[in-house]
């Protein structure tokens, strides 16, 4: 599957898409190891901060304020970026965003661009759009490069190649990188060095750099990219022209607010006290860095999310991926099963809101509602609450919902009627007891028909016992 599958054509529903991943023992092993390691480290990094809960609350409250006054903050950002010599573009959707970026690149005669890792341009399918206009986009983040070279799709927000192990990467580099030494080993340092040699040439040659944005400060026009490898800094400083693409929710009010997020983000994402590279720039500066700076503000469904009172908290997300790393579903299926740029718990709520229920209606159900995601979220997105809320929307829009004839609908309504009436409820208990006899073997039900067969494919079900609690109570009193 290519990363454009999410953007073009409806992806397979989650339960079906998950099946292949669940059966892939190499993938399961890779993911289990990676998520367990980062989970333990994150917990330790967070435990070092005595006021972590206060920071989380500040991170949440700031985002809530931004979302309440998003129009004002965006206009303020536009003005301050322009004041600092930058150019601001507004993009309604992915297509408009890609067109703007392509136009700028072509205007500078660029047939290749270097890219820092950016989920937003992954969301818009920028690389493919540029390719169609004869521009080669080079990914420079190590994991993103691995994904690009193997014609794969990212499976994690922060670690896009989390599903691959060192040996798989070694084989890929040996095959795809022209300058890779013939005796390349799977030592991470050697692998990074091979990539570095390859990338260095690209950095020095490219005239246009493209980045995402972690935070954009409304009152100063400062834009920030937070990263680990230094490739982001190369992309944002070496080329003559820099184009940064940001979702409109990435704006924050003031410079001081960075204090909150630059503590929350690294500890939550890589379990570091501080990430190795934090680049901050304000417009253009004479004799330093790019001579032209373009900031593209992308909506692409975000204002729809904003209009959803319960769902809008998903726009608090700072893309740390802590929720992926603790999610028991993600740990077992990996990211591809979600069929979206945004996998895991945050993807399960963000994707259907950004691209609609017809595209991603199975995602709100891809959770056991265990709540581990909410517990670690640095900006306190109540993901289980939004999942349940989106399930209501899915039920309301599902095929057959209007006529209320879908089998699940009929069953749920019938059960609700039974539960709303004591006599019907007690009659149903008796009926269950009496009608189960063809299914019960040695006190347990080992095989159920129809939609319930999923349960008994690996689990027995106890038989309904002869006496309900209420019958015992009545007998006793």
């Amino acid at each position: 599957m290519s990363e454009t599958a999410a953007a073009h054509g409806t992806p397979e529903p989650f339960p079906q898409a998950a099946r292949a991943a669940l059966a892939d023992s190499q993938l399961r092993y890779n993911l289990s190891h990676a998520t367990h390691a980062i989970r333990v480290k994150r917990a330790a990094a967070v435990a070092e901060v005595p006021d972590w809960e206060a920071l989380r609350e500040a991170g949440r409250a700031l985002k809530e304020r931004v979302l309440r006054h998003l129009d004002d903050y965006l206009v303020a950002l536009e003005e301050s970026v322009q004041r600092a010599g930058g150019v601001v573009h507004w993009a309604r959707d992915a297509e408009e965003c890609n067109r703007i970026v392509g136009d700028i690149a072509l205007a500078h005669g660029a047939d290749e661009v270097v890219k820092a890792k950016s989920l937003t341009t992954e969301e818009t399918g920028l690389n493919e759009a540029l390719e169609a206009r004869g521009i080669r986009a080079w990914e420079t983040d190590l994991a993103q490069l691995i994904i690009q070279l193997s014609d794969d799709a990212p499976s994690h927000i922060l670690v896009p190649a989390i599903h691959k192990n060192r040996e798989q990467i070694r084989a890929l580099f040996a095959r795809e990188l022209p300058d890779a030494p013939p005796d390349l080993s799977d030592d991470p340092r050697e692998l990074a060095e091979a990539a570095r040699l390859h990338l260095r040439k690209l950095f020095l040659g490219a005239r246009v750099g493209i980045s995402g944005v972690n935070f954009a400060v409304a009152d100063t026009g400062t834009v920030s990219v937070v990263e680990s490898e230094g490739n982001g800094r190369m992309c944002t400083t070496l080329p003559e022209v820099l184009i940064s693409v940001m979702g409109i929710e990435k704006v924050i009010p003031t410079w001081e607010d960075l204090e909150v997020y630059l503590q929350l983000l690294p500890r939550s994402s890589t379990a570091e006290r501080m990430n190795p590279y934090t680049s901050l720039w304000t417009g253009v500066s004479e004799g330093d860095g790019p001579r032209e700076f373009h900031l593209v503000l992308l909506d692409n469904g975000r204002t729809n999310v904003l209009a959803d009172e319960i769902g809008r908290q998903a726009l608090n997300c700072i893309r740390c991926s802590a929720c992926l790393n603790v999610c028991p579903v993600y740990e077992r299926t990996g990211g591809h099963a979600y069929g979206s740029t945004y996998p895991g718990p945050i993807g399960a709520i963000l994707t259907p809101m950004l691209s609609g229920m017809t595209e991603a209606g199975s995602l709100p159900y891809a959770s056991s509602l265990c709540g581990a995601c909410y517990e670690v979220c640095p900006v306190k997105i109540n993901i289980p609450e939004v999942l349940v809320h989106l399930r209501q929307e899915e039920v309301a829009q599902a095929p057959g919902a209007r006529e209320r004839l879908a089998p699940e609908h009929v069953a749920m309504r019938a059960m609700a009627r039974v539960f709303a009436n004591r006599r019907l409820y007690e009659a149903a208990q008796r009926a269950g007891r009496l009608s189960q006899w063809p299914l019960v073997r040695d006190g347990a039900i080992r095989r159920l028909p129809g939609p319930l067969s999923g349960w008994t494919s690996a689990r027995d079900l106890p038989a309904v016992p002869p006496q309900s609690f209420r019958d015992w109570w009545r007998e006793r009193s």
Binding site: V329, Y365, C370, V388, R391, F419, G454, A458, W473
Partner: protein, 265 residues
């Protein structure tokens, strides 16, 4: 290790109640009546009177969590009517208590009925999970139980992350005479039940369950205990299918056991 991660969202400490109203839940009423009998045994042993309003049925959690919020409204209305007079409601199901305390207000809001919202606001904080009642309101850890078996405890997600019961159930278990409580590795991991998730995403659910079962077997315990029969039915379903020789028991059933048997009273 299960630590007390947060303050309980339950009602603030008050005088220990003399009578409580039992919300058995539809699931326990029908499938696990022995848990209800055990709750009555333990509470009566501690001198607490138990009422059981027969009009009660279901809290509506399955409907609400599956996306049928409108179908949940009559069930919420029914719950507040049935338990309107109760000073304290106790339930042996952490997830049903979580439904009442965390989501009833949302359902009431959805109904557009301000009266229902007011009633929910009064009743929801009075609804306690069994270990909350025993430790926070009755102030007991040792309930006089005796259970000479090797037991491991699975802390359910909703008991931990919705109710924040922390280590209350474990404190109750550790105070049981003769018991050997063994720590469950990766205890905080979900067992994969998740209500209709277990059916809608059966393959993923089973993958989660396999790991949970493996850690349970690793402890060498003969009993896996928990505060929610729904998770236990899930775990027990796999143990039964695998003929693993390990049984599941609700916390209340262990607390009801004495040297003279489970229901000596």
């Amino acid at each position: 290790m299960v630590d007390d991660v947060g303050l309980s969202a339950a009602a603030p400490a008050a005088a220990p109640p003399r009578r409580v109203s039992l919300f058995i839940t539809c699931f326990n009423d029908t499938m696990f009546p022995q848990t209800g009998r055990a709750v009555v045994t333990v509470l009566e042993r501690l001198g607490v009177g138990v009422d059981f309003p027969l009009e009660q049925t279901c809290c509506g959690q399955m409907h609400f969590n599956t996306g049928y919020a409108h179908e949940t409204i009559p069930l919420v209305r029914r719950f507040v009517d049935v338990f309107a007079e109760a000073e304290v409601v106790v339930s042996p199901s952490a997830s049903c208590v979580g439904m009442v305390r965390d989501y009833y207000a949302r359902v009431a809001q959805l109904s557009g009925d301000a009266g229902l919202a007011r009633e929910v606001a009064v009743i929801a904080p009075r609804v306690l999970e069994l270990s909350e009642l025993l430790i926070d309101r009755l102030g007991v850890e040792d309930v006089g139980a005796y259970f000479p078996h090797r037991v491991t405890y699975h802390p359910t997600c909703h008991s931990l992350r919705m109710l924040h019961v922390g280590d209350r159930p474990l404190r109750l278990l550790r105070a049981v005479g003769g018991i050997d409580v063994v720590e469950l590795p990766e205890a905080l991991q979900c067992c994969g039940f998740g209500g209709t998730f277990a059916v809608k995403n059966a393959d993923t659910s089973i993958a989660m369950l396999s790991d949970k079962v493996r850690t349970i077997l690793d402890t060498g315990a003969e009993v896996c205990a928990s505060a929610d029969n729904s998770c236990l039915m899930h775990i027990g379903g796999a143990l039964s299918r695998q003929r693993a020789g390990v049984r599941t028991m609700h916390l209340a059933e262990i607390l009801a056991e004495t040297k003279t048997g489970p229901e000596a009273a």
